[in-house]
């Protein structure tokens, strides 16, 4: 992940599209970008991972943080468009049941 995530406003929240491998080289910056959005308390936050070929547990930690912040405020967090390897780490970390995971941005918007 060498670029900042792309932030798009939604009627009821925000869509954050990340691009590139997510590992410990970028999670500090990514955490910062996502916290900035969390602070605005969006009713719905969608994290689009379609352009993320790879993620390790330091990336998962950032998502878990976001999930906890949103859940605590009774707001929604969804992730969508996971590539196979990223699906793999969700399964290995047994987080595929914890997160709301969708196949498309549209499905995540409606849920």
């Amino acid at each position: 992940m060498s670029n900042a995530p792309t932030i798009t406003a939604l009627p009821d929240g925000v869509l954050i599209a990340i691009a590139g491998d997510i590992d410990y080289s970028c999670t500090t910056a990514l955490r910062g970008s996502i916290r900035e959005e969390l602070d605005k308390k969006p009713q719905r936050m969608i994290i689009d991972l379609q352009n993320v070929p790879y993620m390790d547990s330091s990336g998962v930690a950032v998502l878990v943080e976001a999930l906890q912040a949103q859940t605590k405020g009774k707001r929604k967090l969804a992730v969508c468009c996971l590539q196979d390897k990223v699906k793999g780490i969700f399964e290995i970390a047994r987080l595929d049941m914890v997160f709301k995971i969708f196949n498309s941005v549209d499905e995540a918007k409606e849920a």
């Binding site: 410990y24 998962v60 943080e65 793999g88 290995i92």
Partner: protein
């Protein structure tokens, strides 16, 4: 280097900066298949090694960017099967291996997944104080399983 190249065919010394994690991943990614792993097995080992090196950088070296991580790789082909052995050596002389602990996964919290992932993916995970007592040695092994192809 630490080992005989005839056994450990590829050895690397990488500075303790996360920007080079992707270099290490690409090496494991290319070598996995040569060691007889399936592509899914290779993907998993890539993740495991990434987690282990990240831990050395974060916890061992506390993000100091001027330390070294040594990675030694050998193909395994013996009675235990076909697979890969990866040895990580650091120079964290003040770390005791007892500090390196899996966390309980029942509670959801950010972090604490790395060691868990290591043990889930690899067939063999062993932390030792390095013989020369200058740091930690992590030995990882993964064998190819027929049914996973």
């Amino acid at each position: 280097m630490i080992f005989d190249a005839n056994e450990y065919h590829v050895q690397m010394r990488v500075i303790s900066q996360p920007q080079y994690l992707c270099v290490i991943r690409s090496v494991i990614n290319v070598i996995g298949g040569k060691c007889g792993l399936s592509s899914t097995e290779t993907d998993h080992v890539v993740l495991a090694v990434d987690e282990a090196v990240t831990n050395v950088i974060r916890h061992g070296y506390k993000d100091e960017p001027d330390k070294e991580v040594d990675i030694s790789i050998r193909p395994i082909n013996d009675k235990d099967g076909q697979g890969i052995e990866i040895i990580l050596d650091d120079q964290c002389a003040d770390i005791k291996i007892e500090q390196i602990q899996k966390r309980d996964l029942s509670e959801l919290k950010p972090g604490g997944l790395g060691i868990h992932i290591l043990y889930r993916i690899m067939d063999h995970v062993q932390y030792d104080q390095r013989p020369d007592a200058q740091g930690i040695r992590l030995t990882l092994r993964k064998f190819h399983k027929q049914q996973q192809d």
